[in-house]
Amino acid sequence: MPKIKINGNEVEVPQGSTIIQAFKATGVEICHYCWHPGLSVAGVCRLCMVQIEGMPKLQIACNTEVKEGMVINNTSDVVKETVRWGLDFHLINHPLDCPICDQAGECGLQDQYMKFGQYDPEMAENKVKKHKVVDLGPTVVLDSERCILCSRCVRFTDEVSKTNELGIFNRGDRCEIGTVAGKPLANNYSLNTVDICPVGALTSKDFRFRQRVWYLKEADSICPGCSTGCNVKVNYNEEGLWRIRPRENKEVNGHWMCDVGRDSYKFVNLKNRLVAGKVGQRGSWQEVTATDAARSAGLKLRETVAQHGPDSVALVVTGQYTNEEYHRLFTFFTVNLESNNIFHWMNNPETTKDFDGLLFRGDRNPNTKGVVDALGSFALKAKWEDLQSQLSSRKIKVVVVAGPENQAVFPDMTEKITFFAQAESMIWLTAGQSEALNQTGAETWQIPLKTYIEKSGSFTNVQGKVQTFKVGTTIVAQAFTLSEVVELFSGQELNWNLRPHSLGGVKTNYSIANRGAL
């Protein structure tokens, strides 16, 4: 562990780390573009200049290893001037279109200019014109003028996704990022290039122009897209969720996440959600509050157990809920109702073991391991075939289904709903709306549930790592967690003071909402 001095403060850093890593570890500010902790060192931006005692010239911090007794500073006037005019060179051909640039507000250039630049530009030449709005592939758009050629995206496709689509073409100030002719940037990790782009050169087609980033708030969560359980940041505002980006966790996902996981904000938004309770059958629904639906469903459940015994009810769970919810739900079934009819609905048993070698897994549930563990700890061994035989022999009167919140990953939804509807009554707990429920003849209670961003809990990922997450925002105010539903099922009351308020859009002034009705 070499001891070095950074700006006069003595620190100890691990052997073999570079100066920029030492700066990051000690929290000292340093200007840099091309260096990224998840990628190799390129050393092309020349902005992380530091002065090392005993060396005649300035050195770049990203490509210089620390040695015992090094005395480093980046606050001297020489360093400051070098960084300032280095920035000027970067900005020579950079267009000043921040107002229409999607990166504005989270842009490396804007931040670094305010911290380290603040010069008056002395460039008299015209800016070099390059290609704008280049379609790189199904997910990413390139603006070559804004690119400062840090080569982060090129290194990403070389080293992480190993697909080698991107490259730097031409020479000098005509340099441009591009793809080899006819080969689009189309891999499952392409949107990571947008995240690591320090300027607005690469933008996501999905998020482009939809929101300015300063309108969005950020919450930490766990991606529910597959059983890897990538750590993510979710951007949301009053209208709902807008995008998901990866959060660093070296043990799970490093700095990256897949494009499929980035889509897992869509089913959370209001237009795809069940917003209130529904009671009825064959498409004739009576809208009730979620609380009333849960209370009457619980009454039905308890009456059935009292009349026909505990074997007349069954519970079907998917791998999309938290460990805490499973525990509460299984306790209610096994202890209160004394029923052991608990079944695990696997959406894709044939692809469960698939893995693409980086992050994305074939098991598209965040908590399959959690539900299997919970079933094991309650010593529940019911098989799917038992459910089939008991449903067809009409032994099961009420089936409670904790359906999937991300319905897109359950291709057998319609088929399974028809299958469950063989029972007399069905209690359907889910976050989304399901068209297939309109066709079934069983007496059905639909009770809205919260999605991953609206509740706290923990997922167990495929490695067996239990990752906790907290409430980010609320989209559907009436929705419950499974634990809350169980409270209402068992005839108890919730603490109504702790219920969330609905978002209800930006302006809810009565006179404005009813304008035009004079």
Binding site: R210, V506, R515, A517
Partner: protein, 174 residues
Amino acid sequence: MSLVKRPTASAEWFLPGILAGMWFTLRKMVFNIFHQSKMETLNYPEQKYEYGPRFKGNHVLTVKKDGSIRCTACMLCATNCPAQCIKITAAESTDPTVEKYPIAYEIDVLRCVFCGFCEEACPVDAIRMGPEWQTAALNGSKFTYDIQQLAYRPQLKGGIVSVLDDHERHGAGI
């Protein structure tokens, strides 16, 4: 603590004050009858006062030389607006020289406080506040101005051309 201001002794003698006021009114009335051209009031609504171009009245969205909307949907006006009355929906343009443009630009003029911050925030002279000030309408819904109203209303005679032109700026190397 509340203060109660009691009438002073002199204020109890109100009649001289009233008479003085009525004498002023009478004097002005007689003056106006004989010198109508020097009257200080207008016969609204037959006569209307024209404010100068710097008056902060109804908003105007400027247009380019080809008549299309100048706004680039950067949302700086909406961000700067203290009354939160501007709502913009951005979209990708089919025109290759234009990247981003507003497909909807709405100003809720009943919320607007006419502070002029939108005009100040705009980087491309796309929104101005004009001299129009009569905003009466029959129905509450008429107070949400859309692009058609803001840029192409009949009073503007086909739209006001913005001073900032992209082709000129690109030609100048900006």
